[in-house]
């Protein structure tokens, strides 16, 4: 444990030394901070309507103005970050866990199972993500859970494939062969020996995947197929902003900039993490 903690420290130091990585770290830090302490940061209740002061531009009272219902845009942006992370984190970690399990099974298990799982991965991948999301939403109705499920399902193959490749390479490495010859159980080999070697690579993938997930959540909410109103979400802000685009630019700006900022932050962080954790991965992308 002590060792892995110091390794984590090393990684963070490595990322912070890289200018892009430091930028990513700061942006992501700010977003996470705002999401956790959203309740204390927001100047107004993000869903409280105030019809008298609707569609205002930025002012001292409302930093980013108000929407068509008089809700404070800045408060909705901050609260929207919380929703974005609420979708992105469980979806990414869920996809990572399932992908990892399936990928290791595919890589370590019998050939027919491998083929079957690969076919499964390819099938999911061949659905254009948004089309798949739309189809599912159309079927089971829009909600936060639906979005998490859709996002998770579409990114399982990415993790599964990488976990499989890593397992396949490790499978014939000397230390695994030695363990096997000493009669170690499959669970022990996979859990104790392979997992630590695969998880780092997947964590990098996850960091790079979070922007995609945030964008997808926002996209679905923008189409009115994501989280339900009046829940504040960046996508919902964009949806309102789109319909009012000729009246006020502030809703589109307020919804769009945090998405771009968040994707930038996580991408910088992911890129930098990848260089620190595994320079070889650079080629695979």
């Amino acid at each position: 444990m002590e060792k892995s903690r110091s390794e984590l420290g090393q990684i963070i130091i490595g990322v912070a030394r890289d200018p892009l990585g430091l930028m990513g770290l700061i942006i992501v830090g700010v977003i996470v901070f705002c999401a956790i302490f959203a309740y204390w940061i927001v100047p107004y209740d993000p869903i409280a309507m105030d019809i008298k002061s609707r569609l205002q531009g930025p002012s001292a009272a409302h930093l980013l103005g108000t929407d068509q219902l008089g809700r404070d845009t800045f408060s909705r942006v901050i609260a929207g970050g919380q929703v974005a992370l609420k979708v992105a984190l469980p979806a990414v970690f869920g996809a990572m866990a399932i992908g990892l399990t399936l990928g290791m099974i595919a890589g370590y298990g019998p050939k027919w199972l491998d083929n079957l799982l690969m076919l499964f991965f390819d099938t999911i991948r061949s659905f254009p993500t948004v089309m798949f999301a739309l189809a599912v939403v159309a079927l089971i109705g829009p909600s936060l859970q639906t979005v998490v499920f859709v996002v998770m399902a579409t990114s399982i193959p990415t993790y599964g494939r990488v976990a499989r490749t890593q397992t396949l390479t490790l499978r014939n490495s000397e230390f695994i062969l030695a363990e096997r010859s000493m009669g170690a159980s499959m669970a022990r080999i996979l859990g104790v020996h392979m997992l630590p070697n695969i998880i780092g690579v997947l964590a990098v993938l996850a960091a790079m995947d979070i922007p995609t997930v945030i964008a997808l959540e926002a996209g679905l909410s923008f189409l009115g197929l994501g989280v339900k109103p009046p829940t504040p979400s960046w996508g919902a802000l964009l949806k309102d902003g789109y319909s009012l685009i000729r009246q006020t630019p502030w809703l589109v700006v307020g919804g769009g900039l945090p998405i771009i900022l968040a994707t930038l932050g996580f991408t910088f962080l992911g890129e930098s993490l990848r260089d620190v954790v595994d320079p070889k991965l650079r080629k695979q992308r």
Binding site: T123, A218, L264
Partner: protein
Amino acid sequence: MLSFATRRFGLSLLILFVAVTVMFLMIRAVPGDPVQIMLGPRATPELQAQLTAALGLDQPIWKQLLIFYGNLLQGDLGTDVFSGRSVTDIVFQQLPFTLELIFASILWSASLGIALGAYAAAHPNTLIDRIAAAISVSFVAAPAFVVALLALLVFAVHLQWFPAIGAGEGFWDRLDHLVLPAFAIGLSWVGYIARLVRASMLEVMGESHVRTARAFGIAERRVVMVYALRIAILPVVTVIGVGMGFLLSSAVFAEIVFARPGLGKLVIDSITTRNYPIVMGSVLISTALFVVSTALADLINALLDPRARTAH
């Protein structure tokens, strides 16, 4: 010669088959009677029975599936619940708009990306290379629909340089209408392709055949542009082929934002009206498009790379 491509194509068809089946079963597995959802709570029982029969929903599930496959093989994707028109017709009427948009997006972003990547590779670790790299990363991160909205806001609503909605009539007008959506979709690809080309170009430039070309005094321009670039762009073809799903997703959003006709608009409109046959048909066609484009990328690769024709 094409056995590799045919095998890939066969696999693609298998994937398509599985995808279609999963889709079909998913629709059927949804809790609640689709007919009731489609017609709404006020529909008469007669009307419901009529629609149930029309959709073949009174048959056992395996039979429905077989009928569905049979129709599919004949190019029949079913009938629109409301207008009674063939879904195939409706989908194929919208498809060209989407394809036009995807093609335009890829054309500009790949040209610029390849040029940027090749330039960066020819001048590695210079200031320009670093700036290009930073811009590339930032571009990769930009989600298409956000870019589309911001572009709409700035270039259509405020500056009014380009039209905000529709697909236009006639060549120049259509091109004018393509600029902003294609810009939004292609932006993230510029950075992605530039990085890809830079990396693969640097690798190719280090290979010994490039040294041979130089040792024969072939002009550096020709060495870079013909001897190295032709090999370095091969992965771009594959990436675009595989990225078709991603492109389609972006196109859906761009079509909504710019109120353009196309598959995306069709799907969203049918979802809001619970028009399942059309949703199903559009998803199917777009999945097929993805499968076909992957196979197509393989074929193009085989044309560009003589080694791929005999390999595998």
